[in-house]
Structure formats: C-alpha cells, structure tokens
Symmetry: C2
Subunit: 200 residues, 2 copies
Amino acid sequence: MPRPPDPAVRTALVEQAAAMLVAREPVTLRALATRAGTSTMAVYTHFDGIAGLWAAVRQEGFGRLAARLADVAPTDDPVRDLAALGAAYAAHALTHPALYRAMFDAAADLPDPEAAGAAFTVLVDTAARARDAGRIDADPLAVATRQWAAGHGLILLVISDVLPRAALAEHAPPIITAIVAAAGDDPARCAASVRAGWSG
Amino acid sequence: MPRPPDPAVRTALVEQAAAMLVAREPVTLRALATRAGTSTMAVYTHFDGIAGLWAAVRQEGFGRLAARLADVAPTDDPVRDLAALGAAYAAHALTHPALYRAMFDAAADLPDPEAAGAAFTVLVDTAARARDAGRIDADPLAVATRQWAAGHGLILLVISDVLPRAALAEHAPPIITAIVAAAGDDPARCAASVRAGWSG
DNA sequence: CGCTAGGTATAACAGGGTTATGGGACACTC
DNA sequence: GAGTGTCCCATAACCCTGTTATACCTAGCG
C-alpha cells in the first residue's frame, strides 16, 4: 500500500555527494538535496541522516576502488602485478583525493564491509600467487597488509600536500620492492618486476 | 597604549583544546571557552577563528612529537635508533589518536613549519648516521621519508580501527627492517638492530 | 473507487561558527 | 599622577548547518 522508496533518488544522492566531494565543494544537506533535485528529507528516508549518507559514500568509494583494482589484468609475474595494483590504487586515490580521505574517515564501520574486503583480497591473492610461484616465502596476508599500510601512508602525505606529488613515483616503487624483497624475493629481479608493474 | 593580549589565555586555549581532543569530546567554541575560563571572543583575538586554533593545536601536537623524539637517546647503533624513533613516534600517536589525526588534517600549513621539520630532521639525521657508519648507502632523506610514510599509514589504519592494535607490533618492525635492508644494510644484522630498538 | 501507509516537501528547531557592540584594563603622554 | 586612547574580552545577536515535526500526496490494495 505504501509508496515504495525510489532507488533512483538514493543513487542520485550518493553520486551527487561523491561529485561534490570531488569538486571540493562543501557537502551540505541543502546543497546536496538541491543538486539531486529533491529535498533534505530524502536523505533521512534513504540513509537515516547525513552519517548514513557518508557511510554510503564510503561504500561507493570502496566499490569503485575494488572495481579499479579488478581491472588490473594478472600476468605471469605476480610481483609485477603487485606493483601494478599499487599503481592503480594510487591513481584512484590521487584522482579523487577528497573521496579517498572520506573513505578512511571511518572505514571501520561500512554498511557492507565485504566490498572493501574485496579490494584487499585482490592484494592478498596476488601475494599468494607470488608465494605459490616461489617468489616469496612470507605470509601473503602479512605482505599485502604491509604494502597497503605503506602505500596508504605515502598517498595520504601526498594528498595532504606534505610531500610533493612526485614523491609517489619516487618512493612507492622502492617501498614495494623493499617489502617484497624482504619477504624472500631476489632483490634485483624484484626491482625489475616492480618497475615494470608500476609503469603499467 | 593598548592592552596586551594575555599569553596565558592563549596557552590555556590550546591546552584545553588538546585535552578535549584527547578526551574525545567535540571541540566546540563555546565548550572550549567555558573550559578555558574565558569567552569565545578570545579565540578570535588570539587565533583569528577556530581554523587558527586548529593550526595552533597542530603546532602543539608537532611540538610534543618533536620533544618525544628528542628524548630518544642515540646509541652507537643508528639502525637501532631508527627503530627506537619509530616506536616513540607510534607511542605518541597511539596515546593521543585524536590529536595525531588532527595534526595531519592540514599538516601542510602550520604557523611554524620548523617545529614539524624538527621532528622529521631527527629521522633524517639518524639515517645519515647510519650511512656514515656504513650501514646503508642510500640517500638518508629518502630512507627517512619512506620510514615516515610507511609508519604513518600503519598508524592511521590502526587508529581508524581498520587494523587491530596488535598489527603495529607485528608489522612495524618488519617494514622498518625491509626499508633499511633495501637501503643497503645486512638483512640479519638489520633485523636484530630493529628488534632491539623497537623493544626499547 | 476509496483507504491507507509511507515518501516527500515545507517549516520550525537546536547547536555550531562568526560578527556586532560595549565595557573595561593597560600603557603611554603631559 | 590624571587623562586618554587603544585593543582585549564578555554579551548578544546573526547565519548556516543538521535534525525533527507536520502536512500533503502519491501509489498500491481491498
């Protein structure tokens, strides 16, 4: 009997919020509602307030990230793939810095953590392939976590204008190489793989 | 001829703001003024608004960080010192997570960047000692930057409850070891030094 | 075809930062 | 040492934000 919620309104709100975030405009309830062609109340029926909207935006951000990482085609060199994933991850973050920041503002409580987990799983799986191929002998989960943490920190420092943009290309490959080599890979071979994967 | 601004009011405001941040209370202008025993206008005369107050708080945070790092007594093993600095840095961040977060919300524009630079300089100098001692042959600035970025990312993920607190002790030493070893140090010796430095 | 339940719009509310306004204390002048 | 001007600080209004109350009105069912 009731009128069903319009899914189009929900997606429009999330899209607009993400767009405003990218455009570096302040995401206020009224501005968002106006841009989405609706009223402020829609945010409450669909998301139960602006906190819920942020959660949906974070979810959207992790979904886009996972999609972007899934687009990285695996090769027969898993270490190269690891670096390629890092490059894709960094590209996503640098293209949408505000969205990336928002994603980690409260990344712990996502509506559907699986989506975020999917992005991370790609990393772990690639590290596992590296182990299966005999390139590394350390725990793939540990290697993936270290890659992620190090990349996250470097990206945030660049986004925050603490380090120049060039710092990413200068330091990311050496860091990836260091972690993978420490996990057991041959340093020279590892460096070559990372260089190839990072460049694309 | 005018009445000079009271420095005590200024410091009281910064201290109270930092305290409220640590106590995880929302830092509002009115609550802050009440706790500092003054009025909201004091924030404007001393800091030109709450944005300026945040800048002062960030400055305070970097000052405390620099002080804490300066307390780390150098030994004859620079790699060990590097790990000890990392441990002190992490301890500072985990003790005051909200303050650490605030520090990097806009770390690019500090009133006096030198204070923040001082904290970083300790890292660079220690890396330079490692090079002078023949432990590493890479650029000390690059090594320090990589340590910082990787540690920053790991700490933020822990603070954000994305990774468990135990992840810090699990991953920080291996990451430090990986970066320093990749810079030229002997892997086994490096691991031992880092272990010693991290434990204190 | 009417009834009803729930989404949407409008408007009032609470709390945040900022901006006027006035008083009062300090330092400088004579 | 009294006068005086300058700005620090307290009070109170303002605007904008998120939230909540209320009314409408649409969509589905008996």
